[in-house]
Symmetry: D2
Subunit: 340 residues, 4 copies
Amino acid sequence: MLNVGVIGAAGYTGETLVDILLNHPHSRIAYLCRKTDASLPIQEIFPKFKNRIDLVCNKLNIKDVISKCDTVFLALPHTASMEIAAKLLKAGLRVIDLSADYRLQDVAVYEKYYGVKHTDKINLKKAVYGLPELYRNKIKTAQLVANPGCYPTAAILALAPLVALNLTALDSIIIDAKSGVSGAGKKIAEGFLFTEIDEDFKAYKVNIHQHMPEINAFLSKLAGKKIQVSFVPHLLPINRGILETIYVQKSQKSKVKGQSLVALYKKFYKNEPFIRIKAEGSYPRIKDVSGTNFCDIGIEDFGDKIIIIVAIDNLLKGASGQAVQNMNIMHKFPETAGLL
Amino acid sequence: MLNVGVIGAAGYTGETLVDILLNHPHSRIAYLCRKTDASLPIQEIFPKFKNRIDLVCNKLNIKDVISKCDTVFLALPHTASMEIAAKLLKAGLRVIDLSADYRLQDVAVYEKYYGVKHTDKINLKKAVYGLPELYRNKIKTAQLVANPGCYPTAAILALAPLVALNLTALDSIIIDAKSGVSGAGKKIAEGFLFTEIDEDFKAYKVNIHQHMPEINAFLSKLAGKKIQVSFVPHLLPINRGILETIYVQKSQKSKVKGQSLVALYKKFYKNEPFIRIKAEGSYPRIKDVSGTNFCDIGIEDFGDKIIIIVAIDNLLKGASGQAVQNMNIMHKFPETAGLL
Amino acid sequence: MLNVGVIGAAGYTGETLVDILLNHPHSRIAYLCRKTDASLPIQEIFPKFKNRIDLVCNKLNIKDVISKCDTVFLALPHTASMEIAAKLLKAGLRVIDLSADYRLQDVAVYEKYYGVKHTDKINLKKAVYGLPELYRNKIKTAQLVANPGCYPTAAILALAPLVALNLTALDSIIIDAKSGVSGAGKKIAEGFLFTEIDEDFKAYKVNIHQHMPEINAFLSKLAGKKIQVSFVPHLLPINRGILETIYVQKSQKSKVKGQSLVALYKKFYKNEPFIRIKAEGSYPRIKDVSGTNFCDIGIEDFGDKIIIIVAIDNLLKGASGQAVQNMNIMHKFPETAGLL
Amino acid sequence: MLNVGVIGAAGYTGETLVDILLNHPHSRIAYLCRKTDASLPIQEIFPKFKNRIDLVCNKLNIKDVISKCDTVFLALPHTASMEIAAKLLKAGLRVIDLSADYRLQDVAVYEKYYGVKHTDKINLKKAVYGLPELYRNKIKTAQLVANPGCYPTAAILALAPLVALNLTALDSIIIDAKSGVSGAGKKIAEGFLFTEIDEDFKAYKVNIHQHMPEINAFLSKLAGKKIQVSFVPHLLPINRGILETIYVQKSQKSKVKGQSLVALYKKFYKNEPFIRIKAEGSYPRIKDVSGTNFCDIGIEDFGDKIIIIVAIDNLLKGASGQAVQNMNIMHKFPETAGLL
């Protein structure tokens, strides 16, 4: 059994990690902590875990983490991860970071969008972007995995086949994204009150969201050319789930020929356990992926334009589920262990 | 036109008052303020009011209030009203207070349930409880009206006929109350986040809620004997609306005879514009009263037991709508002006 | 007082019409009916109307309509309106039709998208499209007004300034639309059950929705050239409200110069009582327009691209509110009567 | 591996059974069917199951069921189960029936509340009521288990300690119950549309619900005396979950002494894996049990009165989860297999 720790167990991604790990056949939760606050049994923080786990959620103590864990999940806000990851890595632990701290190789972009200095450039260089469908081989041997953001996971998986095969006009990509509220974490602010969100819907951070450069970076890498998407996120009055509707222009030269886009996508993702391509004329909905680690993709050809619709659960494939998928890959467990 | 002011215009009851007063035929909003914070046009605080009103929401200045207004609504949390009301009353203004500060004549009970000292006992004595269906005559001439709490409005209206006619065993009353989230005001706390309330339902302050002594006080007054109800409030995952399911034992002596309870209720409330008694076997639902100042009551006889179901909109009949109804009565406007 | 009738009073748009008309200062509801079904007091169909109106909702009788009404609202599904409108028009009544039957001048397009024959081409030619911001003058004297669809109202108002001023590449318009469930009417089908929609979000009729040709037709008319938009509607788990996020490429020739897009929009709509243009960097949300007849528009310039966000209440500005606005114009009442 | 069948796989309880059984370590789904309709892969009926199961949901064929299954779940509406169960039992299969057909030993009561004749009285006599916490020993050897209703599961578990120990006045029990919409099954009717339930809350079948006699029957059995509860169910605007607030008078003779009610409840349920008793002053909420097979109970002593609050997931402990718990007991699997 692998001994794992969860740093930041009291937030939504931490809670979801605990939930998954409690049913994982090859790992056991060896350590739980919150960065600050006093120690408290995890089942008092989350009464839902009573009778399932009996473990104290400590105040963070790095030595304890190192002595008790082989692999550690950092379920922390950005900045907080940088402070801790280096110490764990130095002690030889493997780290899966759910924050944004190790996702963007371009430090200037990170500092612009997150508004803080990056203080661990050395480990940043070694970090592997934890999107298994594109980087599985690197993840296998990575010591530090940067678990992707929720919006980027959906967007990159939805666009990867088109971009990799050079089928899209690179300046034409528009991502209209809609997310459930848990995507924002447990933020205690007026804008996240029930009374403010219930029966409402709105866009926010229009074309300036911090996930946009993450999408740009990994699509550009895939294309071998610079890609700059338009990205408008919206807040759905639901708890969890992301659906993105993506519009692209076909590229001039390489029109799709001889096969449908659906067939092309099915081929691109043919051995992927968590990618499900919808049949022609059929589209994803959040309900089908909610509570699962699946990513559902629907795609349709409208002459010069292509419309792609993609759905994931932001707390699972968009965060904690994908983190466990990465752990499975890193430790040669079956990739779906604990996730189906 | 009556010149009215709203102190505390940035909360949910303040917002609702502005909304009603903008369509009121006999009054005009002469002054808006928040207790603290800088001045800001009300249409910037609530973009929904743009094109309907062009008025600045000031930082509170008592002199301004006195010079501009005839009647003032205090849409404030408890304690805050006590500090202001005395000054306005002294200057001859009429005051409708939506807080709890002037509802309970028994100071000891107030201090126990609200955890603060009462600092304006003189005006407390003069305050009239603003439940028009029971105290219309006193409201007409009141200088200070204590607008009832939302739960008590529903509970007292639902029970008044039975209690007044001595038809219920006084120690048997059980009130199982359910409220939408706006009933709690704009409280920025983890428990009121969308993610915490959506798809959830729970009881809170079981038999210790501060509205319980208010219900007890006014039912006891009506009965001429001490009544102590059981009261369990619950939080509904909706924005507005209260529904209470009330269980009582019939009293030994005075069984209902010769007429149905529905007929008895219809008679008791026969000239009330905002009370609607449901037909036999038919019950209120929140949707029918939401956005209205109505109070719907359904009642049924089950042998020894009576079950009453009552619904109101907590922000209207349970707060701001009733406050305007009181204003109408105080100024001899048609009682339904601005409210139908 | 104008005598008005509502044909189809039991659906959501009919219910909303009754609600508005009950507070209208210059008209009175003279006749209510459902197309089929037995007569029933409207307050039994909608208990929320009790104490506000006491009128029977009849089974449709054309003679009664003609004898009692000056102006009639048809709150009916498509096809049903065609059968009735001709008779009312012939009798000299003025008709505001909320169905799609008289919106599309191109009969072939109507028949393709609605799947039925058009049986009243004569009146179709005389029908005026009831979007007051563009066709106010024609509406004044129209005998038959075709009230616009909910999605088209938002889309056309959001795009009209850009299209009219030739600022957009005509083949580049993408409309990502999200609507509350009442937009579908009171359709009793598995897909509209609470359990299917709650906590879900999905696209439907991707690029094939019947409102797309309506948008195309009126934008093309405005541009004097053929416009073909991409249009993807989605279903929001809320009761009412539409928000559309619109992406356009700027046209080559006529770049916006010397003034911001916000200023340009403010100028275009400067005397419109129901259009509100958001300040730079600020965007509409459904909560601000819900329960109102307003249309809120936010617009931003992103180099080659423009992003426009627009919100309306689908039952008001998107249906019944706009219908009453049209009635006000037709009868020279103040345009906002009953609507603010 | 045990071969199990699910008859009625297309409803909500059928869907939930498939979901649980796919992760069950000791059983495999050998047969799925819908009572009527054509054959269809289950992953087409529920796209969420794609990549998890590849099995056709057939039109019911009794011979197939018998040849392929050892144990069968009937996830059917009442009446439908009676027609099928007898055949399966005769063939030696073990049956867990989720309908109401075998719950009430008193045929007259069944026929009164369900409005149909009971056609299988022979098997009714042999049926064991599948509430493991009270009838575990009988369930072990039962051939036919009548899986309890959702409301009764919560109510009986909440009241069993008080009733068994004779601590409550038998005529005083009031159950105010609130349920998510999935409790009604996939009923396609106006009352279950999203637009009707969203932002609403209401009581229904006040004191006449068909689950009331089930509660009465099993509480009476426990007490050895006739118990008649008051029972008012309400519809919550959420997908799943039940919370019941229960009010009882203490019995005259046997006042609780020497220990708290919480301690008494903890002792009564001390070895139960799915019952969690809340600490003093702490109460259940639906979120803590949603998606789990737990039953959370909070209890408090208020002088003469006791208030008990209980919460379960209506589709799990209230239906399919409890059905699998029963299967585990019948086949000597660990009782929590597939359920934690």
